[in-house]
Symmetry: C2
């Protein structure tokens, strides 16, 4: 790879807004960050050992995933010839990653444009809920004969995805006869789970989710790579960017050179100082759904009742999704004047692919005439800088991830940066970053309420609980 190109594509972190400055004398100093180095070095070593001993597959298997690309892209290209619609049945990480990457790297109105692309690309639908009205509407807009469904669930036991799949399988059988299996591609575990015997018995095409990668870390496996390839996204670039960031992080040992250490320590110190809210605020419509992916990663990884010693800690910053400049007219009033309970992370793109000039009209009043002769991109940039400035004036902490351009390589870097930041943060908090024990109760409750055998006691308990109620009607 061209060294200059690599350099010009590289993400930067601007953490000025976290530090002591003329407006915010309570901001931090480099010494304060450096004082965290022993803890960070411990985290760094712990993560290195975990990776060597078989953990952290989101990083470790990147090269293996890269080797998968030729066959995956070949298959994706086959699909684009045969189908007009690619429908994902999945929820959580199986939906959020594909959605984020699609919006980041394809046109905003992709589904409306895709049939006129060259080569032609299928429309993408990500059905990440079980809302019956939406499901019914979906069936009104797709032609089943021209649709392939990608069922994504590692365990094959995700109620929502399996319910969708059972409905779709039935409809396909009725409409497409024996050929119905050609309309289904499964992304699941290699050996375990409910879908493995079904793949064997019914003959679906399938792709593997590596055993050691959980939903929220799975975007750079076939979970995300297959839909991206189908929609014409440069999956090689994604992995190249991911590998670059992975290398940078694993090889830098100090907080001021390692972007994940730096990000994590900024988050950790803010959390220690009582900032329980983390606002993620890209200044680009294309990164809006990236916030949803980040919100799962941050919330599910760090929201934990106990630490690794089993002590109750009730930890976890709450991620908040915002969008610049849109939410300046919605949330920034609160961010500047409300409580100092949050840190804002801006995401900015230095150079957009296109721009629109605002025409100059001397007959207009002063408070709009000044816009003329500038471009939308300049206005967006000015507003982003002005918002940073307003937050600084209000002594509110903020930081910024800068993408020189938005492309597969920078998005790949961003994915890995945030995954690693989360891993370091988990180490600093001394928790298990990779499990999600708290969702179990909800699952058991659902089994009980749906009348699954063996869950009668829980059903009775819920009914008892529901007997006391307070309703205003």
């Amino acid at each position: 790879m061209d060294v200059n190109n690599e350099k010009s594509n590289r993400l930067r972190l601007d953490y000025t807004g976290m530090m002591k400055n003329i407006f915010n004398p309570q901001g931090w100093t480099k010494e304060k960050l450096a004082a965290m180095q022993p803890q960070l070095t411990e985290a760094h070593n712990s993560l290195r050992i975990q990776r060597e001993q078989g953990g952290l597959d989101f990083s470790k298997l990147l090269t293996e995933m890269e080797c998968l690309l030729p066959s995956l892209v070949e298959y994706a290209n086959e699909l684009t010839c045969n189908f007009d619609n690619f429908v994902i049945l999945g929820i959580g990480g199986s939906a959020l990653g594909p959605l984020a990457i699609q919006q980041a790297l394809n046109p905003y109105y992709y589904n409306e444009l895709c049939l006129s692309q060259n080569p032609k690309r299928p429309r993408l639908y990500v059905v990440d809920n079980i809302d019956p009205d939406r499901f019914t509407d979906l069936l009104r807009v797709i032609d089943l004969e021209k649709t392939i469904f990608n069922v994504i669930t590692k365990s094959g036991a995700t109620s929502e995805t399996m319910a969708q799949f059972m409905i779709i399988r039935d409809i396909l059988r009725q409409n497409c006869g024996d050929d119905y299996t050609k309309h289904i591609v499964v992304t699941t575990d290699k050996e375990k789970g409910n879908l493995v015997p079904m793949i064997r018995a019914e003959g679906y095409r399938s792709w593997i989710i590596p055993a050691g990668i959980g939903g929220r870390f799975s975007e750079l496996t076939p979970v995300g790579l297959l839909p991206a390839a189908v929609c014409g996204i440069d999956v090689y670039g994604l992995l190249q960017g991911a590998l670059e960031m992975d290398k940078w992080i694993r090889e830098s040992e100090s907080v001021l050179t390692n972007p994940a250490q730096l990000s994590a320590v900024l988050s950790y110190l803010a959390w220690q100082e009582g900032k329980n809210i983390s606002v993620f605020m890209p200044y680009a419509d294309s990164l809006k759904t990236f916030s949803d992916w980040y919100a799962q990663l941050w919330a599910e990884s760090l929201g934990k009742r106990v630490n690794r010693q089993g002590k109750e800690v009730f930890t976890g910053q709450t991620p908040v999704k915002a969008l610049g400049v849109t939410d300046q007219h919605s949330q920034v009033q609160l961010y500047t004047e409300g409580p100092a309970d949050k840190v804002v992370t801006f995401l900015t793109i230095e150079k957009f692919s296109s721009d629109c000039l605002i025409p100059y009209d001397k007959s207009l009043p002063d408070d709009i005439k000044f816009l003329g002769g500038h471009s939308l991109g300049e206005l967006l940039q000015a507003e982003q800088n002005a918002t940073e400035y307003a937050l600084s004036l209000a002594k509110r902490q903020h930081r910024k991830i800068i993408l020189p351009v938005l492309n597969a390589c920078t998005v790949g870097q961003l994915l890995l940066l945030l995954m690693w930041e989360t891993a370091y943060m988990g180490e600093l908090l001394d928790i298990n970053t990779f499990n999600q024990p708290g969702v179990e109760e909800g699952k058991i409750g659902t089994f009980a309420l749906m009348g699954r055998e063996g869950f009668e006691t829980r059903k009775h308990e819920i009914e008892e609980y529901a007997k006391t109620f307070y309703v205003l009607e």
Copy 2:
């Protein structure tokens, strides 16, 4: 109106999850709520007086808005004959309300379905940002000849909207000649602002935003009613529902009978007990963007530095948008196991318009077979109840707004309930609910950075500030 129908359409509030129960002995009692009655009565009287003296136009002008409907619907129907696309240029309240109502009351894939509707309806695009890539993409998917642009800004000084408008006006002039004014309809103040002389000089069709109604309270003015009518939404039903809820709230004097008093006091007590996060979690895809509308209302109204005596209070709960069941696989881990720093407000629809049966297949393993014979709607309901139960088990507070069905009338009620809850909450906090002084600094900063005359000092200041910086690259 049919009394039974009115009753069956009426919203209900279930606040069991806030109260003392078998799982949460720290929950509240009715006595605790009743003890707040003096403050609530004071708030009730204060709001009544403000309304009598010319404030609270969001409530006071509902009848006037209802009178506007025949002419507004007539105009909307004209547009549907002449145009295939209705594009809103607006930001903040000018975009969030129209988006929320469109998603709530029209099919999920409306834009893909609308040309086959009977009567034919225009596609709706809400351009609520100045991202140059998205703006360029928009121009690729719409046929200008068949497009009408609705410019929405009360002051005519909103930089983002006016920048968009200036670009579009220029393009229309080039493409449509003298007829270009037919492609523009303006929603703005009656007398003040930049757009009034332009309407006179260039001859645009226009609709009025009443002077006393700010952006986040403007959905039931032509801001929201015109797009809704164009998209075939029952605007009469919206206002009917709004008027019903308005009456209920104004005529009920006590916390246990007045839904806005009750909602506000639940929020207020939670805030007093340190819960600085308010999660808004509808269990319906159709209400997803309603959360964005709510987030502006709550954040911008209540996020305030000073109270009405000018004392610094730095108040304001941070609204968080979540979606059931989707975010059970993203946020609920944090909500159950993380800190007790939030209250979750669920929104549920008792009866969806459609449903899908999950087929039963006895060959499937137990952990998915149990789904068979139930419907998606049942599964969604069970999961919502199970999540409530899981939160209760974890001693986390939650409440629920129940919509018997989702229609224009219940959505109208919901709008007014949340507006009034916000107004009561502002009274309890003793702040000005209706201003947004904190956005000024950002505006001034933008003027400075865009080189507007008269803002040179600020520009210099920002440049000075930017001289100290910390960047990792």
